[in-house]
C-alpha cells in the first residue's frame, strides 16, 4: 500500500504525545470487538507517570468527545470533532472495503482515532481537562452512555448542514468587532473551498479509476495482438507491452486509492471542525446579554412606576429584581467578552493547525506520486530492451 503508517500530525510544541495500536479482543459467547491501546508519553506533572498505556474502545472515544463538547463548545473552544463510525464516504465513489473485519478498515479507524486524540491533546486547555486525563490514564473507564456518533454521514451532507447553520443565524448582531466579521467571512470562504476540493478529489478519483479500467482493457487487447503477430520478436515485445500496461493499471488503482484516502480524511476532519459553530455560540451569548439588558430596563421602568404607587413591598421587590438583573447584565457582558477572547485564540490556533495539516497531507500525496513515477521508470526500463530486440 502506498500509504505508510500515519505519523502523528503535529510534532512541535506539544507536551504530550499519544500513539495507538489496535488489537482484537475475543469474548466467549459474544462477537469480537476492537480495542485500542493508547500509549501516552508526557513530561507534564498532571499525570502520574511519564509513559503509560490503557485500553479503550471506540465508544470510549465518542464518550470523551461528548463530554468535551458539552463543556467547551459554548464558551468558544474549537473542540476536535468526533471520529465517524464509518469511513468517511464520498457520495459518488466507493473505494476499498467497508468490511469491519478488513485490515484496511481497522487501519483507517486506528488512524482516525489517533488523529482525534492528538488534536485533543494538542489543545493546551483540553490537555488539562480531568476527563481527558482520566481517559488517557485510568485503567478502568465508566462505559459511555449515549454516544453521539455520526454514522455513515456523507461529507456533502455535513457540508450542507454547515451552510444551513450559517444561513439560519436569525440573530442580528451589531458587529462592532471587525475581526469577527472578517473571520466569519473567512470561515464561510473556507467552507466553499473545502467543497470545491471535495468535488475535485471525487472527480480525480473517478477519472483515475476510468483510466485504470481502460488501461486494463488495452493490456488485454495488446496481448491478443501479440498472439496473432507472426514476427516472433515483435510478438514477444507486444506481449511484454501488455504486461507493462497491466502493471500500470495496478499503479493507477493504487494512486486512486491514495487520492481518496488522503484527502477524504482531511476533508472530513475539517468540515466537522467548521460545523462546530463557535461563532454561533458567541451570538447566543451576545443575545443573552442583550436580553438581560432589555430585562433590566423593564425592571427599572417598573420600579419607577411603583415609586408613585405607594406599595412599599412591591417597591422593595422591584429594587431587588433590579439588583438581580444588573448582576446578570454584568455576567452577560463578562461571558461575551470571555467567549470573544477564547474564539480569537482558538481561531488563531485553528488556522496554524490547518496549514500544518494540509501541508502534511500534500507531502504524503506527493510522496505517493513519487512512488508511482519510480515504479513507472522500473517498468519502462525493463521493456525498452525488449522493444530494441525487435529485428
Amino acid at each position: 500500500m502506498l500509504i505508510k503508517n500515519c505519523e502523528p500530525l503535529v510534532r512541535a510544541h506539544i507536551e504530550a504525545q499519544v500513539s495507538l495500536s489496535a488489537q482484537t479482543i475475543a469474548c466467549d459467547g459474544m462477537n469480537a470487538y476492537m480495542a485500542y491501546k493508547v500509549t501516552t508519553k508526557t513530561s507534564l506533572n498532571l499525570f502520574n507517570r511519564n509513559e503509560f498505556t490503557v485500553k479503550r474502545r471506540f465508544s470510549d472515544f465518542l464518550g470523551l468527545h461528548s463530554k468535551l463538547a458539552s463543556k467547551y463548545l459554548h464558551i468558544g473552544y474549537i473542540v476536535p470533532p468526533a471520529p465517524e463510525k464509518s469511513i468517511v464516504g464520498m457520495t459518488k465513489v466507493k473505494v476499498g472495503k467497508e468490511d469491519l473485519s478488513s485490515a484496511e478498515f481497522v487501519e483507517k479507524r486506528r488512524s482516525a482515532l489517533e488523529r482525534y486524540l492528538m488534536r485533543t491533546v494538542n489543545h493546551p486547555a483540553l490537555l488539562k481537562d480531568p476527563d481527558v486525563i482520566q481517559f488517557l490514564e485510568s485503567t478502568e473507564l465508566p462505559r459511555a452512555v449515549s454516544t453521539q456518533a455520526l454514522s455513515g454521514a456523507g461529507i456533502l451532507r455535513m457540508v450542507n448542514k454547515a451552510a444551513e447553520a450559517v444561513n439560519k443565524m436569525t440573530i442580528k448582531m451589531n458587529e462592532s468587532d471587525a475581526w469577527f466579521e472578517e473571520k466569519q467571512q473567512q470561515f464561510e470562504n473556507l467552507d466553499v473551498q473545502l467543497r470545491k476540493l471535495h468535488a475535485s478529489v471525487e472527480s480525480l478519483v473517478c477519472h483515475r479509476k476510468e483510466l485504470s479500467v481502460n488501461t486494463a482493457s488495452f493490456a488485454k487487447s495488446a496481448a491478443m495482438l501479440g498472439n496473432s503477430e507472426d514476427h516472433t520478436a515483435l510478438s514477444r515485445a507486444l506481449s511484454q507491452l501488455a504486461e507493462v500496461e497491466e502493471k500500470i493499471d495496478q499503479l493507477h488503482q493504487e494512486q486512486a486509492y491514495a487520492d481518496f484516502y488522503l484527502f477524504s480524511e482531511l476533508l472530513g476532519d475539517y468540515v466537522r471542525l467548521i460545523t462546530a459553530g463557535v461563532f454561533d455560540h458567541r451570538m447566543k451569548t451576545w443575545s443573552k446579554w442583550q436580553d438581560a439588558q432589555v430585562m433590566l430596563q423593564r425592571k427599572r421602568e417598573a420600579e419607577a412606576k411603583l415609586q408613585y404607587a405607594n406599595k412599599p413591598d412591591k417597591l422593595q421587590q422591584a429594587k431587588e429584581e433590579i439588583k438581580e438583573w444588573e448582576a446578570k447584565v454584568q455576567q452577560g457582558e463578562r461571558d461575551f467578552e470571555q467567549i470573544s477572547k477564547n474564539i480569537r485564540r482558538e481561531v488563531g490556533r485553528f488556522e496554524k493547525q490547518r496549514v500544518k495539516d494540509f501541508k502534511v497531507v500534500i507531502i504524503k500525496y506527493l510522496e505517493s506520486l513519487v512512488h508511482t513515477q519510480q515504479q513507472l521508470i522500473k517498468y519502462w526500463e525493463a521493456f525498452l530492451p525488449e522493444a530494441k530486440a525487435i529485428a
Binding site: M224, I377, E381
Partner: protein, 392 residues
C-alpha cells in the same frame, strides 16, 4: 476557435511522423511534403510541396494547395485503376475531425461564468493545445499518404499523382453526393459478402494461404487494440485536465509551488506522446492491413475469375462452340491473376518489413519518452517535496 495557421518545418520532428512509415527512400528524384497548413472554420488547406529532378514536371520545386477531398480523389483513382490491382494501395488519410475538440471549447465557453478568470485561461490553454495536436496529426496523416505514394516504384509515376502535385488550380473534385455514397455502401456490402466466398477458396499457394489466415485475424486484433488504445489515451487526457483543476483548488490551502504544476504539464505530454507513438501507429496499421486485405481480395477475385474462365473454356471445347473467345478470356484472366500474384507477394513481404520496422521504432520511442517524462516528473516532485519539507 479562430483559424490556426500552422507552419511545418523540415526540422520539426513532430510534424514528420515518418514514424508510421519507415522504409522511405529519401529519393532525390521525388520528394513530397506538406510545408504548411491552414485550419479554417470547416476545412483544412494543405500546402503540398514537391522537389523533383524528374523530367515530367515543369519545374524542380513547386507548391500547390490541396484540401482533404482532393487526397481522397487521388486515393480512389488508385483503387479504381486495374493496373494497380496487385499493389497495396496506400490507405487514404482520415478526414480532419475537430468536432470533439470544438465541442469541448464550446462547453468551456458556456461554463465561463462558473470559474475564475485564471482557471478559465488555464483550461482554455489546455484545450487549445489539444486542438493544435489534432491539427498536427491530420497534417501528418496526409503527408504520410503522399510519401508512401512517392516511395512506391509504380505509383510515383501515376499521372493523376503528378496532376495532384503540380496543377495549381482547384481540382474541382467535390465530395461524394448522397447517391455516390450509397453506391459505395452497396459496393462494400457486395465486396464483404464476396470476400467471404473468395476467402473460402483454398489457395494452392502456401504463402497466400498463410497470409489470408494471418491478415484476417491480425486486422481484427489491430482494430480492437486501436479502439482500446484510443479510449485509454482519451481518459488519460481527461485525467490530466482534472488534475489541473485539482491543483487550482489545492492552491487555496497551500502555496503549492510551481514545480508541482510543471509535473502536470509533463503528464499531459505523456498522454500526447502515447497518442502519437501508440494510438496513431495502431490506427495506421489498421488502415494498411485493410489495404492488404483488399489486395488479397482482388487476387482472390482474379483467381475465381480465372477458374471460372477455365471451366468455361472446358465447356466451350466440349461443345465446340465459341472456343476462341473462351480461350482469349481465359488467357486474359490468367495473365491478370499471375500479374497480381507476382506483385502481391512482394507487396505483402514489404508490408511485413514495414510493419515490423514501424512497430519497433515506435515502441522504442514510446518507451524512451515514457522514461524521459517519468524521470522529469520524478525530479520535479522530489524538488517540490524538498521545498515543502524544508519549509517547516
Amino acid at each position: 476557435p479562430p483559424s490556426l495557421h500552422h507552419k511545418t518545418s523540415g526540422s520539426s520532428k513532430e510534424s514528420h511522423p515518418r514514424a508510421v512509415n519507415v522504409d522511405l527512400q529519401t529519393d532525390a528524384t521525388l520528394q513530397v511534403d506538406i510545408s504548411d497548413a491552414l485550419s479554417e472554420r470547416d476545412k483544412v488547406k494543405f500546402t503540398v510541396h514537391t522537389k523533383s529532378t524528374l523530367p515530367n514536371f515543369k519545374q524542380n520545386e513547386f507548391s500547390v494547395v490541396r484540401q482533404h477531398e482532393e487526397f481522397i480523389w487521388l486515393h480512389d483513382s488508385f483503387v479504381e485503376n486495374e493496373e494497380y490491382a496487385g499493389f497495396i494501395i496506400p490507405p487514404a488519410p482520415p478526414r480532419p475531425d475537430f468536432d470533439a475538440s470544438r465541442e469541448k471549447l464550446q462547453k468551456l465557453g458556456e461554463g465561463e461564468g462558473s470559474m475564475t478568470k485564471e482557471e478559465f485561461t488555464k483550461m482554455k490553454q489546455e484545450l487549445e493545445a489539444e486542438y493544435l495536436a489534432i491539427f498536427k496529426k491530420t497534417v501528418a496523416m496526409h503527408e504520410v499518404f503522399l510519401c508512401r505514394v512517392a516511395a512506391h516504384p509504380v505509383l510515383r509515376k501515376d499521372l493523376n499523382f503528378h496532376v495532384f502535385l503540380e496543377y495549381n488550380q482547384d481540382l474541382s473534385v467535390r465530395g461524394k453526393n448522397k447517391k455516390e455514397k450509397l453506391e459505395d455502401f452497396f459496393k462494400n456490402v457486395v465486396k464483404s459478402a464476396d470476400g467471404v466466398i473468395v476467402s473460402g477458396v483454398k489457395d494452392v499457394d502456401d504463402f497466400f494461404e498463410h497470409e489470408k489466415t494471418f491478415l484476417l485475424e491480425y486486422h481484427n486484433r489491430v482494430k480492437d487494440a486501436s479502439a482500446k488504445s484510443d479510449r485509454m489515451i482519451r481518459s488519460h487526457k481527461t485525467l490530466c485536465l482534472m488534475e489541473t483543476f485539482f491543483l487550482f483548488v489545492c492552491r487555496f490551502f497551500l502555496k503549492v509551488s510551481e514545480l508541482f504544476e510543471k509535473t502536470r504539464k509533463i503528464e499531459a505530454r505523456v498522454a500526447a506522446d502515447e497518442d502519437l507513438k501508440l494510438a496513431d501507429l495502431l490506427k495506421y496499421y489498421l488502415r494498411e492491413s485493410q489495404a492488404a486485405k483488399d489486395l488479397l481480395y482482388r487476387r482472390g477475385r482474379a483467381l475465381v475469375d480465372y477458374e471460372n474462365a477455365n471451366k468455361a473454356l472446358d465447356k466451350a471445347r466440349a461443345k465446340n462452340k465459341d472456343v476462341l473467345q473462351a480461350e482469349t478470356t481465359q488467357q486474359v484472366c490468367c495473365q491478370k491473376f499471375e500479374k497480381i500474384s507476382e506483385s502481391a507477394k512482394q507487396e505483402l513481404i514489404d508490408f511485413k518489413t514495414r510493419r515490423v520496422a514501424a512497430f519497433r521504432k515506435n515502441l522504442v520511442e514510446l518507451a524512451e519518452l515514457e522514461l524521459k517524462h517519468a524521470k522529469g516528473n520524478l525530479q520535479l516532485l522530489q524538488s517540490c517535496l524538498a521545498v515543502l519539507k524544508g519549509d517547516t
